[in-house]
């Protein structure tokens, strides 16, 4: 099976669908998260934190570029993936598209924490992917993501230490947590099963979610933050049966998005539409040639 993904032209429809679905999940999450992070440029609490968040934004954008580039093997182009795609065809989790309340620094920090833990686990599950390009790119991305997690945790601890910071973190957690759960929602359950069956990723979404909870729950509790609606059973095993009712109405993965996403989409496609563009400019070499 390992050989099948070596040559994208030979893929059957089922394999193509599994591959493109996986890559869109990955690329769209990174792209949209980066869009939101850039909003903090020139608006962060200090010049130093401004520089740090700008770094994260560029890292995530670079990762989106890496994943979209693998999609180009399947005949996609940047214009069809980003600037001309219908907004309802984007597959990112709603966690990354939600807008910030102005000045609420606890939001990008907590959002980054919830996302980066999931990202770390997801990348681990891709390390031995049967698609050699995916396995290869995971390594590059991992080195950068580790720093993001460190950055988020360091800020979490400082904010949780003060009354106002703690209160804000709790409010943001209440608001973001249901959306963070959509990170593990399926685009389509048959296709998600294929992703694992074909060895593209070696953990199911349920397994990733369980691992994610086992990391974030004790950590958030150590900062005296309460996780909404998660019960812990007697034997210290986390109650992870995520009730459908805990999920938000819009789950992103299935194409359902919050209103904020459509506004964001209008903004980032604005120039492309106004100038009547039909191509996107590349100024950097393709990832493989770097």
């Amino acid at each position: 099976m390992a050989a099948t993904f070596e040559n994208p032209a030979d893929l059957e429809e089922r394999e193509q669908m599994a591959l493109s679905t996986l890559l869109k999940r990955l690329g769209d999450d990174e792209f949209v998260l980066a869009e939101r992070y850039t909003e903090w440029q020139v608006r962060a609490p200090s010049l130093e934190s401004d520089l740090a968040l700008a770094n994260n934004a560029q890292d995530e954008l670079g990762h989106a570029r890496l994943w979209y580039d693998v999609l180009e093997d399947l005949g996609f182009k940047e214009r069809s993936l980003v600037f001309e795609r219908e907004p309802s065809d984007f597959r990112h989790s709603t966690l990354v598209e939600l807008p910030f309340e102005e000045g609420n620094w606890a939001d990008p920090i907590l959002r980054s924490y919830l996302y980066d833990v999931a990202e770390e686990l997801r990348l681990e599950a891709l390390e031995d992917s049967t698609h050699p390009k995916i396995a290869d790119r995971v390594r590059k991305i991992q080195s950068e993501e580790r720093y993001h997690l460190e950055h988020a945790q360091s800020w979490m601890e400082r904010l949780a230490d003060g009354d106002e910071g703690h209160e804000r973190l709790q409010d943001v957690l209440d608001r973001l947590f249901p959306h963070a759960l959509t990170l593990f929602e399926p685009v389509d359950s048959d296709v998600e099963a294929d992703i694992v069956d074909l060895g593209l990723r070696d953990a199911t979404l349920e397994e990733l979610r369980e691992e994610w909870l086992s990391v974030i729950v004790p950590y958030l509790e150590s900062l005296d933050l309460e996780i909404p609606e998660i019960d812990q059973t007697d034997d210290d095993k986390l109650e992870v049966a995520v009730d459908q009712e805990m999920l938000p109405d819009e789950r992103g993965r299935d194409g359902g998005h919050t209103d904020a996403w459509f506004d964001l989409y209008d903004e980032f496609t604005r120039t492309y539409r106004e100038l009547g563009r039909s191509e996107t400019t590349k100024i950097m070499e393709k990832p493989n040639e770097q």
Binding site: E150, G162, E164, L275, T281
Partner: protein, 313 residues
Amino acid sequence: MNVGAVKERAGPREFSPADDLPQEYREAATRMIEFHANSEIMGAYLERPFIRQAPSIDRKLAFSAKVQDEIGHGQLLYRAAESLGVKTREEMLDDLANGDGKFLNCFHYPLKSWVEVPMISFFVDGAAMRRQATLRRTSWEPYAHAMDKVCFEEGFHVKHGEDILKELMTGSQKEQQMTQEAFEEWWPRIIQFFGPTDDDSTHHDFASSVGLKQKSNDDLRNAFLDQYIPKAEKYGLEIPDEPRIRERDDGTYKVEEGDLDWDEFFTIAKNEYEPGVGQINGRKHAQEAVQWVRDTIETDTTAASGHAPQAAD
């Protein structure tokens, strides 16, 4: 050292925090570097929305990096200004928020569309490059040192700006026309970038006599015109009729200063031009919204006796 001794010794990178410098020098240098640092911040503030509006992922990445670089330049420059012992960074940033801090004329105008982006990132940044290159020989060593890094990075920004201009001017008729219109709107402002003619410049004489300023406004402006008029024409931009520009016998250019709107320029210089006031207040508002975080950090670092975690910056 008194002012006379400073004037006598004044040379490139001559003075450092180790020197005992007169208040007049310290204040003049602070004013100049603070203006420069503020301009980096307000330039970044103006450009940030175009990270989102950039029409490709690569352009978006490059533009995010540029805005980040400018914040980095601001950081470096405030440090160079702080080292004069006149004002702290906090005071300078507060003054910028409350409307007392001064910054470049071009960053008081709104930036509405992508076609205007190269007006800043090619022409204004190109003009800035010319001035900054001369400041590598300024007499305040920390300022000159900051200029080494700033000039290096600014070179990439100008190249990227030039590439954006070239793309627009080789694009559709519509793109070319929109870019020409943006150029006509921005051209007089760009020429005013270098400030009033030397005869009307308030601070020129002293700054020049103590080696802070290396070239006069007029010299810089003329050198810019010599270099950028041919570049604009090369990309198919037509130079507007006004302000009138005279070509000298040797092929160099000179602008008819009287054709420029100096009332507007001096309104801007007082931070009283309406769109600029909107931008100052917009940034102030954003800064106030995160004041609670700065308060938290301050308490935190005091309590932990300066042991702030490295990753949290």
